[in-house]
């Protein structure tokens, strides 16, 4: 009986051993990332590039007539006219364009069907100003022929590592 208890105690030591390995491993990983730096954050730059291109597209009046279209038709028209790759943009980015005299906050809250164009998705991240953890939002305002357009873009893409 006593010997069995001892065996059980010895077998339980493997959890202590694994715990030590995990602690040491975590220490090495954290130490390495502190030394070499975390991932190079490109989300803000990508969102900014995207909003620039959307604004350019609006400015060149390539989206003329989109308002009269059904919501389902708008997506394809927007991608084609502005020269975006639909699958890539849908996977990694969000775009919303609000027409009219609306504030940034109102544009964020505006429903997909009420906006000039929206890919759908949650734009609340754009309301979290100056927070580096949510750095993937960009907003631009365009005044064109007396109309105000607010462009919101979000990048959620992170690097994919393949072996």
């Amino acid at each position: 009986m006593i010997q069995r208890r001892a065996q059980l105690g010895e077998q339980m030591m493997i959890f202590v051993f694994i715990f030590f390995l995990v602690m040491i491993g975590a220490g090495i990983v954290i130490g390495t990332f502190v030394f070499v730096g975390a991932e190079f954050d490109f989300r803000q730059t990508e969102a900014s590039l995207l909003s620039y291109k959307v604004k350019q597209c609006l400015d060149e009046e390539r989206l003329f007539g989109m308002e009269k279209m059904q919501i389902g038709e708008r997506r394809g028209f927007f991608m084609k006219e502005c020269g975006f790759n639909e699958s890539s943009l849908e996977r990694n980015n969000l775009v919303k364009i609000c027409k009219g005299d609306v504030t940034l906050k109102q544009c964020i809250d505006l429903k997909q069907e009420d906006s000039f164009f929206s890919t759908g998705g949650n734009f609340q991240v754009c309301d979290l100003n100056d927070n580096d953890d949510f750095a993937g939002c960009s907003s631009r305002i365009l005044l064109k022929e007396g109309q105000k357009y607010t462009v919101l873009t979000i990048s959620k893409q992170s690097i994919r590592r393949k072996l």
């Binding site: 051993f17 040491i24 490109f42 620039y52 020269g83 690097i159």
Partner: protein
């Protein structure tokens, strides 16, 4: 004789610990080695910079980028064929950068264009006076 048997028992008892320790040490060495020469960090940097440039490009543009540092790191990591460093998948709108054996960093571009090498069909041009990546931007329909 008895002592030898004891030694064998102790070894078998600790075998699982030894196997776990060897796996752990191998993992730690592989992790440190992959991060030691900055291949990961530079791969991350290059792929995102190239994607940023492709996103802003227009069909007909010819882009030349200094990739001297990338080729130096790739050479250190035994990637001797520099044509392997940058990969462009036009079907997926994806750029991949390989600066070390077995690890590739990939990122998507949203611009609806195709990326192709120049007329020499080579991506990386050596010693011009530094190594440079040459890209041609082509309209999606035209290619």
């Amino acid at each position: 004789m008895n002592k030898k048997a004891d030694f064998g028992d102790v070894l078998i008892d600790n075998l699982i610990y030894l196997i776990l320790l060897v796996i752990f040490i191998a993992g730690v060495i592989a992790f440190i080695y992959s991060n030691m020469n900055g291949a990961n960090v530079w791969g991350d940097y290059y792929v995102k910079q190239v994607v940023g440039i492709v996103d802003l490009a227009k069909p007909g543009d010819v882009i030349i980028i200094d990739v001297q540092k990338a080729t130096e790191i790739a050479k250190k990591n035994k990637v001797f064929d520099f044509e392997e460093i940058f990969r462009f998948d036009n079907m997926k709108s994806e750029v991949c950068v390989k600066l070390s054996q077995g690890r590739i960093n990939c990122f998507n571009f949203f611009n609806n264009v195709n990326v192709a090498p120049d007329s020499s069909q080579k991506w990386v041009h050596l010693a011009e006076p530094v190594n440079r990546l040459h890209l041609q931007i082509i309209a999606k329909e035209a290619s």
